[in-house]
Subunit: 397 residues, 2 copies
Amino acid sequence: MKISDRMSNLKPSAIREILKTSIGTDIIAFSAGNPSADLFPSKELAKIAEELFEKDAAMALQYSVTEGYDPLRNQMKERMEKKYNISMEGNELIIVSGGQQGIDLAAKCVVNDGDVVVCEDPSFIGALNTFRSYNARLVGVPMDDEGMDIDKLEEVLKTEKNVKVIYTIPTFQNPMGVTLSMERRRRMYELAVKYDVLILEDSPYFELTYSGEVVPPIKTLDKTGHVLFAGSFSKIISPGIRVGFVIGPQELVSKMVVAKQGEDVHTNLFFMMAVSRYLERYDLDKHIEECRDVYRAKKDKMIECMEKYFDKRVSFTRPNGGLFIWCTLPEGCSGVELCEYTKDKKVSIVPGMAFTVAEKDCNAFRLNFSVPSMEQIEKGIALLGEAIDEYLKAKNL
Amino acid sequence: MKISDRMSNLKPSAIREILKTSIGTDIIAFSAGNPSADLFPSKELAKIAEELFEKDAAMALQYSVTEGYDPLRNQMKERMEKKYNISMEGNELIIVSGGQQGIDLAAKCVVNDGDVVVCEDPSFIGALNTFRSYNARLVGVPMDDEGMDIDKLEEVLKTEKNVKVIYTIPTFQNPMGVTLSMERRRRMYELAVKYDVLILEDSPYFELTYSGEVVPPIKTLDKTGHVLFAGSFSKIISPGIRVGFVIGPQELVSKMVVAKQGEDVHTNLFFMMAVSRYLERYDLDKHIEECRDVYRAKKDKMIECMEKYFDKRVSFTRPNGGLFIWCTLPEGCSGVELCEYTKDKKVSIVPGMAFTVAEKDCNAFRLNFSVPSMEQIEKGIALLGEAIDEYLKAKNL
């Protein structure tokens, strides 16, 4: 039995493999990408579930339509229109099985074998592997504190043939935590129109702003159907339920419905209904405010500890939201090598290599602050500081 | 924006579009593919859900591993090994988001552009569209009362190049309701080995036997890793939860895990845990026995009514299980034309065209007996008989 060409060279995501080994009660995990389980609105969902089973089981447990549960679609259309200024004119919103499925369906519907997907470098490996699974060729664009370097993006669009997608996580990027500035969003959109390329705006963290101004989604600029916005309930309600949504040009989204029909028929209806009722009866914005308060405190604590415990030659981003901080070691260092030292300290991090387009080692690593407790942050960052000191010493730096 | 080649010619499944229009309180629907909502074990699931929210919400609502919830995988391995004689040696079992995802992941991991997928003709359109979405070329093999014609299958395997998959629903086939005989299963497996082709054994109905002998899964014959078995909880617990499983050769299944990671990260964990607890605490076999009793009675009733109300020139299959009966009108008739007459009678059926590989009209249609009540069956089949009479009269037959 031969594996298909598209899948034969694809390996499991390095992070997910690392995650498997970093689950242990005595390990302080900064390697996760999870939201904090303390923040799941489980009491509210329990009440809703009870009622769904009592009154609506015949519907909630039955097959449904591929586009998703209509009331939820309408609630999200209204929310995204009113609160985030994303116009639904010429656009459609469907429910997908987590933001990841939005990326997958978009790739399936837009990318032919050998087409180019331009992405941030580093970027979210889960998305990069999805593009690879449709035989896309990835071209990475470097990042700085304001996100993707747009001059470099323009160069790529000028020189590469068959570019079909610009994949970006513009807000609190994974893994770097940085946000694409408004000025760059405008330029990115203009380039997408000029070169007729789809911007796939992957935005699972956009509701998690802790400080600074809220930068509007790129999708708010879209008058020409060049932006597909992928959102998720994973970071504000629960990731285990696998419910997300996409908003994009009607023609593309209706093809994505056909693709989704072949992938999983529809997203699990019980939780589409549960999320809909949650939005109806509870104040999502108030809940998000609580998440923000908890995560802001953790992020501030982590930054404070990093300033206290890290060698001054280690630089790091100072995100205004999201779940991640990106740390850069001095030149000549290796994130992978550092992991040997952090392992001894029972602290887990993700080496930068896991996020680079070329899958090459680099002198950076990613930290997550949403999962560890305040105490674990203090203790773990101190241990990580020691590991860094030992590593730098061993490198004669 | 250009839609990718693989998706540009793909249309939504005709049945799903028909289903959308056949939902109405005054219509008797024989067009569904749903299990009966009366049979969902919703009280049991409600109890389990309550407990999951109370004690295990932090886990059940969090991210999980792509392979699926381990206890459920182990329970299903044991069940399929002990009860259905499927050896796990050299095989792996993973949880997928409904049987449909099993088909999708298999296609993605095995089929290259232009490769051939051999399938029964007629067959389940949802699967055929999935193969098309990976640029497979479909070659249909005719059916009779014992399932796929194996001589014709051999001819195809001899003459076609790059055949990668034999797609079969061997037990209570959709749409025909027929079962592939044991003798033919053996021959199909031998051919798969000889030509090194994967048998994708799609078996969502295999636990729903109402009469006759249970024919063992093709997978029980597999000593060489040429069979992938796709199963589902959709027809015995609930389809809305989107939980299924596949069993297949380790190398293939581990690639399917990588593909699944890119599609939806994992199946919704809450219901994987719920199904696991259901299996642990309740007697699934007893529940299946109840489903069988209800469906057997409905099937018998439908056959009885068909014998009473249908023109004698209409022939039909007499399934030993599953959800469907396949009816054939006299030569020269059209399933699509008949629908004009059934519409007036407020009865919905699915014309055979929706299942043929060439998507051409034919003189057949599919009936579902799991959804309508006994009363609806009596009334609806009588109305359908009238519609057939009127149609045959209009055709001067």
